[in-house]
């Protein structure tokens, strides 16, 4: 931790501010990496952890990561925007991912996408008004044998017909409703 104090003289305050934003295990992960050789190589792993925790990478979170890891914020945002996997906006409770890989495409993924956009009333990259669903696309989930596939959170469905979309959505919205009661 030696080189951190040498760059900032109010390190304790900085650290405390970061702890308000990031959970403890992520702070610990970053700090423990600082002592390793090539610690800068762990930036992507850190961002994965932040996204897994919050569902997206917000500006304040990236700022905290930059501070703790002692790298420029520009580098953190540069990396975060380069990789498609990282999201910069908050998302809905359930993430729907339509596979737009080749196998799914030739088996009619475009029809599934259309149906999802119609049923949810949103475009790719958007979230429904009630915050329940976000619609995303992905390039191949590696389950091409079941094409076309749709993934909701971690559950893969396939082969899916446009007609089955409403049944799948129903399952999740019902769960939402009952949890709100």
């Amino acid at each position: 931790m030696n080189h951190q104090t040498s760059t900032t003289d109010n390190w304790d305050a900085v650290r405390a501010a970061c702890l308000e934003i990031l959970p403890e295990h992520i702070v610990a992960f970053i700090e423990q990496n600082q002592d390793l050789e090539h610690s800068e190589g762990q930036l992507i792993a850190t961002l994965h952890m932040v996204q897994a925790h919050f569902g997206f990478l917000g500006r304040d979170k990236m700022h905290a990561v930059a501070q703790l890891a002692q790298v420029p914020l520009a580098k953190v945002t540069g990396v975060a925007t380069f990789y498609h996997y990282f999201r910069l906006q908050p998302r809905g409770k359930h993430i729907i991912n339509v596979c737009l890989g080749t196998a799914c495409y030739v088996k009619g993924a475009d029809k599934l996408s259309q149906r999802l956009m119609d049923d949810l009333g949103i475009q790719f990259g958007e979230t429904t008004k009630d915050g329940v669903f976000s619609l995303d696309s992905t390039r191949c989930l590696g389950t091409c044998g079941l094409a076309p596939v749709v993934m909701v959170d971690d559950q893969v469905y396939g082969p899916v017909t446009p007609g089955e979309i409403s049944i799948i959505l129903e399952k999740y919205s019902r769960r939402e409703k009952s949890s709100r009661l």
Binding site: H38, E40, G41, Q42, L43, I44, A45, L47, H48, G78, V79, F82, Y83, H84, Y85, F86, L100, G101, T102, A103, C104, Y105, V106, K107, K111, Q114, D118, T138, R139, C140, L141, G142, T143, C144, G145, L146, A147, V149, D154, Q155, V156, Y157, G158, P162
Partner: protein, 725 residues
């Protein structure tokens, strides 16, 4: 001379044997359930839960569940295998909770298998014995043994439904034989391999084994065929027996989370051999002899790459396993990482030893959470067992590894971009040379190899480089795994010797085109590859021949396209992929793909003129010749190859404004046929834009100005009254 590595290995296998013997699984009924991403998606976790419940309820402690990886038979998942001691194993397809109940109560409890659920109807023919004759180069040289055996069976009036005779590619038991000395025969389900020389041997087998039920010990060999364990379970299913499993020899039979099981199937013997010899050069020479070419797409000779890395003065070296699998539509690497992580790991440790690396990295895409989990588990177990870390297997050589995650950028599969990504940077490629073998990760010599490349290494060490070489072609040794998908009957992972005709893969193993439509083309190599028209389907799969017709071998994606697919549309699809994935570093790729995509959009929407085709071709060549990395250089391949083989489809779109496959929305029109419409109103109720008008029991009409061509009406009309033109 005592060797610490050999001692270590013996102690390890002894320990494993004792522990497995304590489990006493040999006397138990085993329920084998696949557990991989695709199996889970198909519902295998429900199946597992249901079996567990049934076992508990029945109180039987001689029935156990065995979790394995995935065999690669995607369209029939979840697959369940039932092995009752002393009986041939039975496999079931598309099992659900209901079928579990039937299997448990009837097959497991009462010993009556259920033919109606058997995988590929494999129970329709149950043989007491199956004799599998090796058709490999060396065995086959003896010639005619299989035919003589069949004749012998007829002479002795052995009923045809009792004994089956079949063939298979090289077993790998021949590495110490010279050509034409003997041939090998595998007997299922007896798990015996015979070395046969002549008619007398065959007669002996008939008398003793078939008639007497005794194993002919003098003819028996203990050398194990390369995929025997796989074969024992699956040889009666033609989808599998037509394959030659080397890289995937354990996929679907081993528990991917158990180091012990991997060791019991011969695991870490190859590493022990390599380390005990104490000669990295020997390893490199075997791999060179094997003519193993990288399976990640480039096809560079692996032995050559390793050699280059060792020629560097710098002693801090790295090895990387490329598990980014960017081709959208390919899943070979996921299959191997999830189903047999230890094989990939062992191959990688051997590679590390060969090049003298101190540290290894798995670069795995974040979209593969299960693969990540299983590799992490494998690393942890190996470290605990002394197979990683300080003094690997007691050899005195230190080596360790860790996982780094990708984050959804296709270009990071390219080796220099991948290195930048591990360094924590934006994954933009660098100019080569210097190649990573000279200056790679953190400026040190680095070898990057694909998952499947590593999965082949143990087989090369165990069975010999010469043996591996003769499985493939003159040009490249071994097999290749393909992810067969698209409009094919049996989708899944298929491993065949290099040089196998495409036809044999698509029709022989894949069962042909879905719904018996006509084959239009086969796409290999993903977004960097091209199309092989149906007329060329006898082409052998190998790096050279595929490149010659304008495609590439690529990493193993194989998409079957039928008459219902539009070549212009699919080419546009690939281009939109590469356009989106271009890292933007160099202009020909960034701008070139964008401009080409605009032209493709014009063509598919009927707004293009013939000059656009020339422009497209010019741009494609420019992008191909002047881009910095493989992404940009290969991005035009789908366009150029479809222009080469399917130019008439382009002209139809441009001149006649027709898409014969009816895929390009702008060129399709929906109309209601007055003769067929009975006025049921279903189409009107389903149209999202209220473009259809008409009263009940009257002919309906589509307002073309409001129609968005979604095709709903076409799908829902039960009287085929909506026509697509």
């Amino acid at each position: 001379m005592p060797n610490p590595v050999t001692d270590f290995f013996e102690a390890l296998t002894d320990r494993t044997r004792t522990r497995l013997a304590e489990r006493g699984d040999a006397q138990k009924t085993i329920i084998q359930i696949g557990s991989a991403t695709c199996e889970h998606a198909a519902g295998s976790q429900d199946v597992l839960e249901e079996f567990t419940k049934h076992i508990q309820a029945s109180g039987r402690d001689d029935v156990i569940v065995h979790k394995t990886g995935c065999t690669g038979r995607c369209s029939k998942e979840p697959i369940v295998g039932i092995s009752i001691p002393g009986r041939p194993p039975v496999k079931y397809e598309r099992v659900n909770r209901e079928i579990v109940h039937k299997i448990f109560t009837q097959h497991i409890q009462k010993g009556a298998p259920l033919p109606e659920h058997a995988l590929d109807n494999s129970l329709d023919h149950q043989y007491a014995f199956e004799f599998v004759f090796c058709q490999g180069l060396r065995c086959n040289h003896l010639g005619g043994l299989k035919e003589s055996f069949e004749q012998l069976l007829r002479q002795h009036k052995i009923p045809e439904d009792q004994v089956r005779v079949s063939t298979h590619g090289c077993f790998g038991t021949c590495s110490e034989e010279s050509v034409g000395q003997a041939a090998f025969v595998l007997v299922r389900p007896s798990k015996v391999v015979y070395r046969v020389k002549d008619q007398t041997d065959l007669e002996l087998i008939l008398r003793e084994h078939i008639r007497g039920g005794r194993i002919v010990e003098p003819l028996r060999v203990t050398r194990k065929p390369i995929s025997q364990d796989f074969f024992d379970l699956y040889a009666d299913v033609s989808f599998f027996s037509a394959q030659n499993r080397i890289a995937m020899r354990n996929s679907g039979i081993v528990n991917p989370e158990s180091l012990e099981e991997y060791i019991s199937l011969g695991g870490f013997k190859a590493l022990a051999t390599a380390l005990s010899k104490g000669d990295p050069e020997w390893v490199i020479n075997e791999v060179l002899k094997a003519r193993l070419r990288g399976r990640g797409g480039g096809g560079f000779l692996t032995g050559q790459k390793w050699k280059l890395a060792t020629q560097n003065e710098e002693k801090t070296r790295y090895i990387i396993c490329n598990g980014d699998e960017g081709d959208p539509g390919a899943f070979m690497d996921r299959g191997m990482l999830e189903s047999d992580p230890f094989s990939v790991m062992e191959g990688m440790i051997i590679g590390a030893y060969a090049i003298g690396a101190c540290k290894g990295f798995y670069y795995i895409r974040a979209e593969y959470p299960l693969a990540i989990k299983r590799i992490q588990n494998a690393i942890d177990l190996c470290r605990a067992a002394g197979l990683l870390g300080k003094s690997v297997m007691g050899s005195g050589w230190d080596f360790d590894m860790e996982i780094r995650l990708g984050a959804g950028a296709f270009v990071c599969g390219e080796e220099t971009a991948l290195i930048r990504s591990i360094e924590g940077e934006r994954g933009q490629p660098k100019v080569r040379p210097p190649f990573p073998t000279t200056r790679g990760l953190w400026g040190k010599p680095t070898c990057i190899n694909n998952v499947e490349t590593f999965a082949n290494i143990t087989a090369i060490i165990n069975y010999g480089g010469d043996w591996f070489a003769q499985v493939g072609t003159e040009e490249s040794g071994g097999t290749k795994v393909f992810a067969l998908a698209g409009k094919v009957k049996h989708t899944g992972l298929v491993e065949v010797p290099l040089g196998t005709p495409l036809r044999d893969v698509v029709f022989g193993i894949g069962g042909g085109v879905q719904d018996d439509k006509a084959l239009k083309a086969i796409q290999t190599g993903g977004p960097a590859g091209g199309f092989i028209p149906a007329s060329m389907d006898t082409l052998p799969v190998d790096f050279g021949p595929l490149a010659k017709v304008g495609s590439i071998m690529g990493s193993g994606g194989m998409i079957v396209l039928s008459e219902e697919d539009c070549m212009v549309d699919i080419s546009k699809f690939y281009l939109s992929f590469t356009q989106e994935e271009s890292c933007g570093k160099c202009t020909p790729c960034r701008e070139g793909t964008t401009r080409m995509l605009e032209i493709m959009e014009r063509i598919t929407s009927g707004k293009a003129v013939m000059e656009d085709l020339d422009k497209l071709e010019r741009l494609a060549r420019l992008c191909q010749q002047t881009s910095l990395c493989g992404l940009g250089r290969a991005a035009p391949n789908p366009i150029l190859s479809s222009l080469k083989h399917f130019r008439d489809e382009y002209t139809e779109h441009i001149v006649d404004k027709v898409c014969r496959a009816k895929k390009c929305v702008a060129l399709v029109r929906y109309e209601v046929s007055p003769d067929l419409c009975i006025g049921c109103t279903v189409c009107a109720r389903n149209c999202p834009t209220e473009a259809i008008s008409g009263n009940r029991k009257e002919v309906h009409v589509i307002d073309q100005n409001r129609c968005v061509k979604c095709g709903q009406c076409y799908e829902v009309c039960r009287f085929d009254a909506v026509e697509r033109k």
